[in-house]
Structure formats: C-alpha cells, structure tokens
C-alpha cells in the first residue's frame, strides 16, 4: 500500500508560490549544463532527465524574494547552487558505486567512473565560473566555503568509514559539512540580495544550518526505519556501505559490553553483501538502545532552532514561507 505523500504535496504547494522563479532557475540550469562537447551535452541531458526536488534553489529564491520579485542575479545564483549540488551527487555516486540516481542509471554506471569524475568536475567548475563571471562576489565566497566543507566531509567520511568509534561530535561535523553547509549557503546567498543583507545574514545562517541538520538526520533515520512515503525503498544502505550514522552511534554509546561485542563482530566485515546479511540484527540493536528515538529528538530540536531563527525576521510572507519549508523537512519524519 502506498501512503499519500502529504509532505511532497506540501513542498509542491510551497513551490507553486514561486513557480515563475523556479522556471527561470530551470532555464538557467539548462543553459549551464548544455555544452558544445557532444558527450558533456548528452550527460547533461541525462542528468536533467532525473530532475531533483530543487530544495536548495527553493530556499534561495524564498530568501531573496521581495514582494513577489526575485532579481535575475539571484535566479542565476540559484541555478549555480543546484549545479554544485548535482556535481556532488555525480561524484558521490561514483564514491558509493551507486547503481541508480533518481530512477535512472547513475552517471558512473552509464558512462563509467572516469567520465563521472570528469562530468562532476565540469559541473562544479562551471557553477563557480558562472558566479565569478556575474561578479557575484559574496555568493562566490559562500559557495567556495561550502564546496570545501563538502569535500572535507567526504574525506572525514572516508576516514571514519566502518569505525564504531565515531562520536556524535564527529557525526555532527560530517553532516554539517556534507549537507547543512550547502543549504545554509543557499539561504545566505538568497539573503545577500536583500537590502538589509548585512544585518540579517546571521539569521539565514542559523536557519539554513539548522534546517540542513534536520534534513540529514532525517535521511539517516529513514535508513533505519524506512521512508514512510517510499515504501519498499531499501533500508540499511548506510550500514552495508560502512557509514556509521547517529542512530547507531547513540545505540553503541548506550549498549552494554556484551551487546557491543556482538555488533563489533558484525562490523568487522567490509563486504557489502555480508554486512547486508547482518542488517536485521543491527537494526534491532539500534532500536533496543534507543538510537532512532534519540536521533528523532535531535532532529526535532534542530527544527525548533530553525523556526526560532525566523522569529528575528519581520513578519510577512518570507517568514511564513520559510516556516513552511522547514516544516516540510521536519514532517518528513511523521
């Protein structure tokens, strides 16, 4: 039985409020992924076929919007943010040896790992070039900071892979750098176009950071519980591939020595198929020691912080719409 996807509906309704600006962003993205090199152009079209949710551009546009209007340069910046996001997905899929992305073959599978690396580099550098050419100094600075954060997160993740000794602090650093930093960057870039940009940057920084943390913790919980809106989506991918996330980190912290020893034995394997075989035992362990409940509470707390940050904004449609945006992220868990 497929549950109706109320949250997707909520996001779609939110996005309908900025439809013309999202369409402009898509057009800009089309221009940025087109190429006079046939192979790059083909892969660009392949990627655009699997359209994402445009969550980051949505936040950027909502942050930049004044009386229903979004400046052209903010639209161009929104396209650049989505392009950087796309580039990281292409590289991530290569790192994770992923088979599919958004319902189609991943670039690394369809075109090979070397071409996936090149394509990711091309999208990444083109996004940064776009901001540089448009003289968007603040967006460029914010984006290169986020880009370094994301690369560092991948490195940290590679370094801590398979280790049950990752602590909550390291986990928080990884998810801030790999996910929240770009969402924060999108919000701050959007707000940089507002007349009082200097005064309210800290608000958007806090809002974006906290929203991004909710987003990633939620994704990590889905990998233990299953996503209620996508029944049949497999769980346990993080465990199989050796990514140790908050639910397991907490359960490990809380467990007694005997239970730890059992999990430790299972964690010694680096073979994805073998690890998949021990998944139900790990899932039970995490439930027993309250790992998912704890992660859920942390996600809610970050969501409250995100909403609280918006309290500093003037009441009005921007505050309202961004509240809906963060509620969409929080409610994905319900």
């Amino acid at each position: 039985m497929l549950l109706p996807d109320f949250e997707r509906v909520k996001l779609a309704r939110l996005q309908s409020r900025i439809k013309p600006h999202l369409e402009r962003t898509e057009a800009a993205l089309d221009r940025l992924t087109a190429s006079d090199i046939a192979l790059a152009d083909e892969i660009g079209r392949h990627i655009r076929n699997g359209r994402g949710k445009f969550f980051r551009p949505t936040l950027l546009l909502l942050s930049a919007m004044e009386e229903g209007q979004v400046p052209d340069l903010a639209v161009e910046a929104a396209a650049a943010v989505e392009l950087v996001h796309t580039a990281t997905l292409v590289h991530d899929d290569f790192i994770d040896d992923a088979e599919t992305r958004r319902g189609q073959p991943a670039v690394n599978k369809k075109y090979g790992p070397a071409t996936a690396l090149i394509m990711g580099d091309l999208l990444y550098t083109r996004a940064l070039q776009h901001l540089a050419r448009l003289d968007l100094v603040t967006p460029y600075r914010l984006m290169t900071d986020a880009a370094v954060h994301m690369s560092e997160a991948e490195m940290l993740q590679a370094q801590t892979r398979y280790s049950l000794e990752v602590d909550e602090e390291t986990y928080l650093r990884i998810i801030y750098q790999k996910t929240a930093s770009l969402i924060e960057c999108a919000c701050r870039i959007g707000a940089s176009f507002l007349p009082d940009a200097g005064d309210i940057d800290a608000v958007f920084r806090q809002f974006g950071c906290q929203t991004g943390l909710v987003f990633q913790i939620t994704d990590d919980i889905f990998d233990y519980l299953g996503d209620p809106r996508r029944l049949g989506k497999p769980t346990g991918c993080d465990w199989s591939e050796g990514r140790i996330t908050l639910p397991l980190i907490v359960a490990w912290r809380e467990a007694d020595a005997g239970a730890r020893a059992q999990i430790s034995a299972l964690a010694a394997s680096r073979d994805p198929a073998e690890r998949a075989g021990s998944w139900s035992e790990v899932q039970a362990f995490v439930q027993r020691y309250g790992g998912v409940d704890y992660a859920y509470e942390r996600a809610k707390a970050h969501g409250e912080k995100a909403k609280a940050a918006l309290g500093a904004l003037a009441t009005g449609s921007r505050q309202d719409l961004l509240t809906v945006a963060v509620e969409y992220v929080i409610n994905r868990l319900k």
Copy 2:
C-alpha cells in the same frame, strides 16, 4: 648513458633568481595542503613529497615581479595555481589509472580511486576558496575560466579517445584547454598585480597561451621520440591509452590508403597491452609520414609567437627572464 640535463639546469638557474618568492610560495602551499583531517593531511604530505617543477608559479611570480619584489597576494595566488595544477594531476592519474607520479605511488594507487577523487576535489575547491577569501577577484575569475577549460578538455579527450579521425583543430583545442589555459592563467594572474595591468593583459595572455602550446606539443613529441633528458623513460603511452596526438594526427592525414588501413586495424584494439605490442609499427608510421617533424615545426612556431609577444613589454629584467622561461620550454626538444 645519461645526458646532462642542460634545460633543467637552465630552469633551476632561472628559479634561483626568484628563490625567496618560490620559498614563500612553497610555504603557502604547505599551509593550503595541511588539514585537521588526518587522512587529508597524510595525502597532502604524500603529494608534497613528490615536488613538481613549479613551472606555473615561476611564470606567475616572474610576471608579477617589480624591482625584485613580489606582493604577498601574488605569492598566495601562485600557491593557488600550483594547487589547482596538483588537483588536476590527482584526477588525471585516476582517469589514466596511473601507477606512479613524480617517482612515488599515484594517489589513486596508494589510497584508492574514491579517495583520489575526494582529494582532488578538496585541493581544487580549497584553491578557489583561497582566492575568494583574499578577495582576489580577477585571479579567481581567470582561475575558474581555466578550471572549466581543463574539465572540458578531459571530456573532449574522453570523447575522441581511440579515434584516428581527430583533426588538428580539435587537437589544438584540447591542448589549449588542458595545458595552455592554466599556464596562460598563471601569467595573466601575475600581470594583474602590475600597475599597468589593464594595458598589458593581452601581452601576457598571448605569451602564456603560446608558451603553454609549446609545452604540450613538446610533451606529445617526447611520447614518440623519448625525452632526451630522461633516457629510459618509456615512449608510446599516449598510443597505448588511446590518446591521438599531433604526430599521429598529421601522419594519418598524410598517409596513403594502404598505410592507413594497417594503422586502422591496430587502432581498433582498446586493450593497452595489445596496443603496446603494435607501438613500434605506429612509431615507424609516424616517422615515415613526417608527423614528428611537423609537430616540431609547430612547437617552434608557437615558441616564436610567445617570444614575439614579449616584444611589447618594456625591455628589462621581466622581459629577459620570461624569454629564458619560454626558451627553456622550446629547448626541451633539442
């Protein structure tokens, strides 16, 4: 018998003229490749152990130097250029499945392909972030243009791999984008620190572009002839890996149908070992139809253009030293 490496000596002598500035650049590079993430820091040290020739920073520093002085920001930009160059080498080695780099194991071999991809991304983004944080607007604009060029070149190279129908024009685009664009970028960034930067940008652009073209054509010739200063260095790597470069492009253009058919049969294989087996036949074909001689003439012509560009500069030490730099590149062939 090992020939004395006169050209390396010439480069070393040139570099001794800017020794303190090169040392500052190395120190800046050390800071940029250090990391609080143990794995990134370790790979950073591994990479720095295999020190390169610092050819691009040398050109940047020579271009920026006034009365023996180089501004701090130009030194930082020189480190960023070398860092981008290093990032592309890490990614290239993965693409080419290279075993070694500068006498030590390539990052993709020592740490695995996924980590090589991440490390390349980290170095790349950190270089671009560094320029942004220092508010070096013109340098980061030039650098993102070069970065896009280099990624496009990799894509073009992937697209034309193994094809004997690549023409000279496409070859020129590839080598401009993959090699000359960053050398041009280094020269233009250096000159951007000069008081009359706006007026002389075109000179450094032409000088850098032409010098870069000589550099790559020379490398491509070495792959047919062997590098006289590195006896024993294997030839035929480009052929084995399916990269069709100027000597072969020209020989193919000049050859009769019978000779073409023979080469065409050999080119059908995509197995590096099998291609290596046909190398001597290809080498003979290229010699017979004048491919190396033609490439040599083209390299010399680009070298002359580089020197001619310098004629527009005021006579003095900058002009003299840059002339030595391009002569170093041209004379590598002698």
